[in-house]
Structures are given as C-alpha cells and as structure tokens.
Amino acid sequence: MEHTNHLQAIGDLHSWHFERCAGFQSIVESCGWKGNLYKKPQDIYLHSGIFKEIKLISMDVQDDILLLKSSGTSGTNRSHIYTDRFTRISQQRALQEIITKELLIDIKDKPAYYVIENPKTIQGRGIEEVGYDARFAAIKGFSTFGKGMKYLLNENNELDLNSLENLRNERGNVFIFGFTASVYLYFIQRLISLNIRISNNDVILLHGGGWKKLEKYGISNSELKKSAEKTIPNINCVNYYGMIEQTGSIYVECKEGFLHTNNFGLIITRNNNLDICKYGEQGIVQSLSVLPKSYPGQSVLTEDIGIIYGKDDCKCGKGGLYFKIIGRLPKTEIKGCSDVYY
C-alpha cells in the first residue's frame, strides 16, 4: 500500500469521527482497532449494513443536517446517512472534478440532461420528513452537469416518445443518466425492439447501481455497451461504481473497461478472513473516501466482490488502482446451525 495521501486523510477522518461519533468510537474500541487510527487506517472499516442499524453522526449542530436514505421499499432496511452542508459541498465538488475530468463535460457549456427514470418514482421522494432518497439524490446530483432535466420514461416505465423526440432533435451534446438495470431494460432494449436509432453526434450515457437485477438476464457490462452502441452509434457509455455512504467519490470506468480510483476514493479487497488480497485475487470490496465529515462513512466494507488488477499501469493511461466489480456476496442469513431455511 502506497497511497500515502489517501491514508493520511483517512487517518485524520478516523480520529475526527472517533472524537465525535460515539457509535464509531465504540466500534473502533470494541474491535481492538484504536491503535490503527493513524498507523493502519486502512484496517479500520465499518460494514455498510451498520448504517441500516444505527444512527451514526459526527455533528453537534443539527440544523443543516440532511438525512439521506438508500432507496428501498421497506422502511427498516434503508441506510441512514446524515450529511451537513460542508460534507454535501465537498461531495458535490468532488463529483464535479471527477465527472468533468472523466467524462470531459464542460461545465460552462452544459449538455442537455436526460434521465432514464419514471417521474413517478421520483415524485414525493425529494426532501421530506423521512429524508432524502438516494435515487433522487443521484439524479439531482448529476443534474448539475447538464441543463434542463427531462424524463425518458413515462409513469408506466414505458419510453416517453415525446421526450425521446426532443432528445433526437437536440443539436448539441446530450448527457443521459440512469440506473444500470433501467438503462438496459427500459431504454436500450426498448429502442432495439422499436427499431429506433439515435444518431445524435455526442451522447454520454452514465449508468451505475446494482447489477443484480441484470444478472438474471445474463447481461454483462460489455454486452450492455455493445447493445447501446448498436442503437446509438455515437454513444460514450460509461459505468460508475459508488455507494450511498460515499456520495461524491465515485469510481468511473475507463476506455479499457476498468474502474479507476481517484483523488477522493481508494479501493481495497479483502479475503474471507478480511486480510488484504493481492492484485488479481477476488475479494470483498472495501471503499475509502476522504469526503465524509458529518458521518463516519470514510471506510466502508461492502458486500460487493471485486478484483484489483494493478496500479498505475492500466492500458488506458490513467493512473490509480484499476479494478472491476464482479458481483455481490451471496445473501447469508446465519442464525445458527439448524436454521437456514430457503
């Protein structure tokens, strides 16, 4: 591990949260990790599920706190992320730096913004009593890189043909955002079946979020890309990896199909005993972000499986670690010996 800057920043964040967040402090102390705060900051992490179980917050003043909730249907199983203005601003700035650099979007000459989303799923999911919805937050967060916001789906999750017509008539650049499953199922596939081609000159399609839904259709990232290119020849179809606990510091896919770490985020993979994997080995993904200050989301152990292939030597020429997310850990529900019933 070399990433000295990242780790130093993470070490600082660890002790910041250790002093301010009782939950984080108990976890670090109980896990016997107090000595690692600065010495081995990479070896301190919170399981992502913790944010579903307890309120973790590192702020005293609560007036500018916003609650961000992961998208989900049931009330109990949603992550609760508390952001203050400072954290939100730095997250938005980081996102801006990553997006403008990786997608070459010119913030002074913004492209038209289209979302592959059903307006109904968004309605009533804005700032409300229960908190800010992550799906909404992502759509909103990416909206700063485009002008206007048009939904490409109607309330029945069908293609909104008017909106599509608008898109086809755009003269300038177009920036489309959607969640991976929706992009494939409701957009690309429909375009193919309706035999519609979009021949705009410059279309960026950014998509992210669970692959789980697509797994049962046997669709990989490269297949999605291929079918997108079939129907939108001038498309730049880019996948990103990010999580609600680390809004802002997302990892964007390069031309070679690898995700890269950047100034804000770092990835570690761990084996089944939580020891750090070598490059090329499959492991449980841990993600570090230098951004979260109002909640201890700086080091999260996810349930994703990934492979880090190397550092600074990706064929695309970009630096950082380059990696792929290859799936999710199988669902477990371990209660004891004689109990798992499926």
Binding site: N271, G336, Y342
Partner: protein, 395 residues
C-alpha cells in the same frame, strides 16, 4: 429416490405401502453397502464432507445394532416421516434421513434449492443402489419448483415430522404446512463450547499444538463459527498468566489456519463482522476484542465477574473465558450448550464431578476437540431410534 414432480409423489403416496418394510438386519446390510460406495465416492470427489458422512453411517450401524438387540419388545416403524433439514449443511438431509431409515420408516426429505443439486443427486443415487428398487420408492428426496406443494401434501399424510430450525423457521413451517403427524421433532439452535487445559496445551510439543488447533478449527470452520457444533465459548483452565500465554499461542496458530480464498465463506465473514459492529455500537460493550477471526471477535471475559454469559451476544463474538479451575467454571457455565469439546487429559472422575455440578446446565455431549461435528444417534438429548419407532407393549 429423487423426484421433482408432483405427480410422482402422488403416485408414490397412492401406490407405495408405508407398512411394507424390510427387516432391520437387511436395512443395516444395505447401509454397509452404502458406506462402501460413498467411501469410494468421497475419494473420487475429494470430499471431506462425504468422508464424515461415511464415518457417521458406520457409527450409526454399530449403535443401532446394539440398540435393536437391547430393545426387548417388538419394535416397529412409525410409518412415514417428513424431514425439513437446514440448508446450511449440504448433507444435513442425509443425516436426518439415516436414523429414520434405520427405524424402518418411509421418508420424505425436503432438499433446499441452495444445495448443489448434482452433488446431492450423486449421493441419492448411491443410496438407491444400496437399498434396492422397492425400498428406494419409500425414501423420497425432493426439491425444485414443486417443493412447496410436496411439503404440503406430505406434511398432511406423515406420521412424524422433523424440522431443523430456529423458532421463527419452525413457526413458519408449522403455520404454512399443517400436519396430522403424531410426533414432531424440532431441533432448535444450540451453541457449543470448548474446554482447554492451558497448561496441558502449553506443555505439548509444537506438532501437537498445531494438531490441536487444527482440530479446534475443524469443529469451528463449518459456517465460520456459526454452526451449533462450533465452540462459541472457549473456557481456559489455569492461572491468569498461564491462560494468557496459552491463548496467545493458540490464536497465532489459528490465524494461520483461517486465511484462504473462498468467497462463499466471505459472505459469512462480512455477516459476522456486521453483527460484531452492531453489537459494539448498540450494547456499548465493556469487553475489547482480542482478535478478529473470520469476522468474529474473540472477546475475553473473566469468570470472576460472576455474571452469566449473555447468549444474545454470541452472534458477533467468540468468548474466551478464563477460569482457575472447574469449580470456578461451573459457576458461570451457560445454559443450552449442546457439545462441550475438550483439550487436555482430564480424568474421568473429575469430569463426572464437574458435569454433575452443572445440573440441568450439563451439555448433551462431552467429546474431545475435533469431534464436535461427529454426529450421533443421540442428538439434543434425544435418541432418534426411540422417537422414530414404536414399541408394542404386552401386559
């Protein structure tokens, strides 16, 4: 016989008589055949799991032979038995089936869809070969899409039902699949513990220490410390300084054994760490984790604090408990311990005294470390053969 369609099970219920059954010596004879063929299969598939099953079958043959000889009255099967085994141990279905087959019953065994189908089919076809065509039509393994319907049908007709599950699972099955079975056996979640004589361990040579830690891990690794047979508590007998020394050495050896690439068990590891961290944040533990093994925190608790150990905290942790001697241990020894494994020469008189002092807290089994997973006809204090047969009483 492995079936996947509803019509097959209906046909079997209609046509196969549950009363028919070959005699006990023939049943045991067919199990001897099965043991041989599975032993071959275990070598072919390099399966330790199968090897353990073979050992269990052999043990079962011996124990049952003895039991039937001792049973003075006429012993008859119950009739038909439905088994709903847990799905986290691949061969659980076979373990549940075997004693009931020995008892002479017709059996329906639900197989979880999570279990590798090809693998279990292999084992079932060996069973079919060993027990013969007629008998195999009375030993029905089922899974797949029809599993739900078949469980419903067979629950209605069965004379006995065996469920391996926690309260939630058991209640769910009870309400979803009503039964007229006169006997219901439910195996609830239990915990196990290990007892280590620290001085004995420290005085062992390096090879023995490694063997002992490997045996301990054999008891634990199935489900990464979550199986009922894996030691959730480890009791260390000796003075404080001796115990600390022994634990240090032991943990070091165990850590070497646990690290490997196996993403499927990674899911259990992350689930373990999630539970550990949740408990840490919610319960504000006084205890600090010594080490994290497979996501489980090893926590040291002194027996001197004289507090009963909290069962609900077992989820994220493995407890190391120091005790000066068995007397001291007896004070805090927890309830619901299924298997207590041991390391060290502990003389039988002392053992008996200790078990007696535990009273109703005495564990079901007291076996050497490494044998925690060894199945026995007696499980959870229940003798399968007793429960799955009926005796004719003549007065």
């Amino acid at each position: 016989m492995y079936i996947t369609s509803k019509s097959q099970v209906k046909e079997i219920i209609d046509q196969v008589s549950e009363d028919y059954c070959i005699n006990i010596s023939k049943r045991l004879e067919s199990l001897r055949l099965l043991s041989k063929s599975l032993s071959k299969l275990s070598i072919k598939l390099r399966s330790n799991e199968l090897l353990a099953l073979v050992r269990f079958i052999n043990e079962a043959i011996d124990q049952s032979e003895e039991w039937f000889q001792r049973a003075q009255n006429m012993v008859l099967p119950r009739g038909s038995v439905i088994h709903i085994p847990s799905s986290n141990i691949t061969l659980m279905a076979i373990y549940s089936w075997l004693p009931s087959y020995i008892a002479g019953n017709m059996n329906y065994i639900r197989l979880s869809r999570r279990i590798d189908e090809e693998y279990i089919k292999n084992v079932i076809s060996e069973i079919d070969l060993a027990i013969g065509v007629d008998e195999s039509r009375r030993q029905i393994f089922y899974s797949g899409k029809v599993e739900d319907e078949i469980t419903a049908i067979t629950s209605k007709v069965a004379d006995a039902r065996i469920i391996w599950g926690d309260n939630e699972t058991i209640n769910m099955i009870k309400s979803k699949y009503p039964t007229n079975a006169s006997i219901e056996i439910n195996f609830k979640t239990r915990y196990s513990a290990s007892l280590i004589d620290s001085r004995f361990y420290l005085n062992s040579d390096e090879d023995s220490k490694e063997r002992l830690s490997r045996q301990y891990m054999n008891d634990s690794l199935l489900l990464s410390f979550n199986a009922c047979s894996s030691p959730h508590y480890t009791f260390w007998l000796g003075s404080d300084s001796i115990n600390i020394k022994a634990q240090k050495d032991f943990i070091c050896k165990i850590k070497k054994l646990t690290s490997m690439q196996d993403i499927a068990t990674g899911a259990i590891t992350t689930e373990n760490i999630r539970k550990l961290q949740t408990s840490a944040a919610i319960d504000n533990l006084d205890d600090k984790v010594l080490e994290i093994i497979r996501g489980k925190g090893v926590i040291k608790v002194s027996s001197k604090r004289n507090k009963r150990l909290r069962e609900d905290l077992l989820k994220g942790f493995i407890y190391y408990i120091d005790a000066k001697d068995l007397n001291e241990l007896s004070n805090i020894f927890p309830h619901r311990i299924q298997t207590l494994t041991y390391i060290g020469i502990i003389n039988s008189k002392v053992i008996n005294q200790f078990l007696e002092s535990l009273g109703e807290r005495a564990p079901d089994r007291f076996v050497p470390t490494g044998e925690g997973l060894k199945f026995s006809l007696c499980w959870d204090g229940q003798n399968f053969l007793e429960s799955l047969t009926r005796k004719v009483c003549v007065t």
